[in-house]
């Protein structure tokens, strides 16, 4: 087995805009991914905070030109710009200003051994499940994640998504069970569920209210 590996960014198989560098190489010491916006206006960094996992994040514009928005400040970021977001709780996002913009994102939690995120690990199941979800095939989406649950029983993210898809498929029991389990593993999902439209059918259900209380 080779003791090193190489690839060009453009050769790594994409997952929508996401170029999964960490997963491709099996990097274990820090998080690293790239995101590509094919057209101007495409999102290259989703609007998010890192507060729940305490990551500091470094972004490097490798190609093209991006516009970052951080805590409401607009930051012009041509190629070779480095953006360091020190505060995990800062709201940040970026869109491509030029076609073919590529942004590298590197992150980790100071003082902690790095662990890959849920969404990277469960992708082989989450990706086909999302395709069913987008096509309105909610029962099939839920079934795909149930298969994923056998491989990753500790994944809070997978259980949360399964709760959403179960709810949309009309499976109240599964939705409530998986939501409770997701929140038990990752309390941040309580807040997410409060605003999540996927749970519209349970909004007036007392057991749902208790789960997110």
């Amino acid at each position: 087995m080779s003791r090193w590996a190489s690839a060009r960014v453009a050769e790594i198989e994409r997952r929508d805009e996401w170029i999964p560098i960490r997963d491709h190489f099996g990097v274990r010491a820090f998080g690293i991914n790239a995101f590509r916006g094919d057209e101007p206006g495409d999102r290259v960094i989703s609007e998010h905070r890192e507060g729940w996992r305490g990551h500091e994040e470094l972004y490097v514009v490798l190609e093209g030109h991006a516009t970052f928005t951080i805590e409401g400040d607009e930051v012009d970021a041509p190629a070779r710009t480095i953006v360091y977001v020190r505060e995990p709780g800062a709201l940040r996002g970026a869109v491509a200003k030029e076609a073919g913009t590529v942004v590298l994102a590197v992150g980790g939690e100071p003082g902690a051994t790095f662990e890959p995120e849920d969404f990277e690990v469960i992708w082989p199941y989450a990706n086909p499940a999302l395709a069913h979800y987008r096509a309105g095939r909610y029962a099939e989406a839920a079934q795909t994640l149930r298969e994923g649950l056998e491989a990753y029983p500790d994944s809070a993210g997978l259980r949360y998504d399964l709760a959403c898809f179960s709810c949309l498929a009309g499976d109240r029991e599964s939705a409530l069970t998986q939501l409770r389990e997701a929140i038990r593993r990752e309390p941040r999902f309580r807040e997410t569920a409060r605003k999540d439209k996927d749970f519209a059918a349970l909004r007036n259900d007392p057991e749902f209210a208790a789960a997110i209380a």
Partner: protein, 201 residues
């Protein structure tokens, strides 16, 4: 109030000459990153180093990104052509690695850390920078390193060197003595080090 973020261009990074055309462009220390190591390296001339020849004695796994230009890596004796946009990942710390610039202004971004424990900065970040300044400033930089990382033998050793270069022989003697206390192997290095001429531990 301090902003929760900082923005700069790779072109704004300091250039600290190291060897064979390689310029160290500190990122981690400049920004105060605490969860992984990261720096850029540039060579303005073809054939200059963009990754110095080394094995990763720290035990880090390392990932290199060719940001601009074109580099030629040599990894355990095997050559790799690496135009801009190439990523090279070395999970094994003892792979011998080197990269030279194939185009003027080639820049490589390096990232590193341990897979099984939290990141901690390396002492070399301070002493590489110290030697790029006048000795008085070098002394300050080494003291900053000790304030951040604590008493490490190499930090004390290079503090002693900077103090000797600044003409502060008593301070140099004291810090060299302490460095050798912590790592007796440094005594031999000190004997042959021109920076420490006339400084007996």
């Amino acid at each position: 109030m301090t902003k929760p973020y900082e923005v700069l261009s790779i072109d704004d990074l300091d250039r600290i000459p190291v060897a064979e055309g390689l310029e160290w462009r500190p990122i981690r220390r400049r920004l105060g990153i605490r969860s992984f190591g990261t720096n850029a390296y540039t060579s303005e001339r073809v054939g200059g180093w963009v990754v110095e020849e080394h094995v990763e004695g720290s035990g880090h796994e390392e990932l290199y990104v060719v940001v601009s230009g074109r580099a030629r890596f040599t990894l355990d004796g095997e050559e790799l052509d690496a135009p801009a946009g190439t990523i090279v990942f070395l999970p094994e710390h003892d792979v011998s690695r080197k990269a030279v610039s194939e185009e003027e202004g080639t820049t490589v971004l390096a990232l590193g850390g341990w897979p099984d424990k939290p990141f901690a900065p390396s002492a070399w970040e301070w002493y590489f920078e110290a030697y790029a300044h006048e000795p008085e400033r070098g002394v300050e930089i080494m003291r900053e390193g000790i304030a951040e990382l604590g008493e490490r033998p190499w930090l004390l050793y290079h503090l002693a060197c900077q103090e000797a270069l600044a003409g502060r022989r008593d301070d140099a003697r004291e810090h060299l003595r302490r460095a050798i206390e912590l790592d007796p192997a440094l005594a031999e290095r000190a004997r042959d080090d021109d920076d420490l001429e006339g400084v007996e531990p």
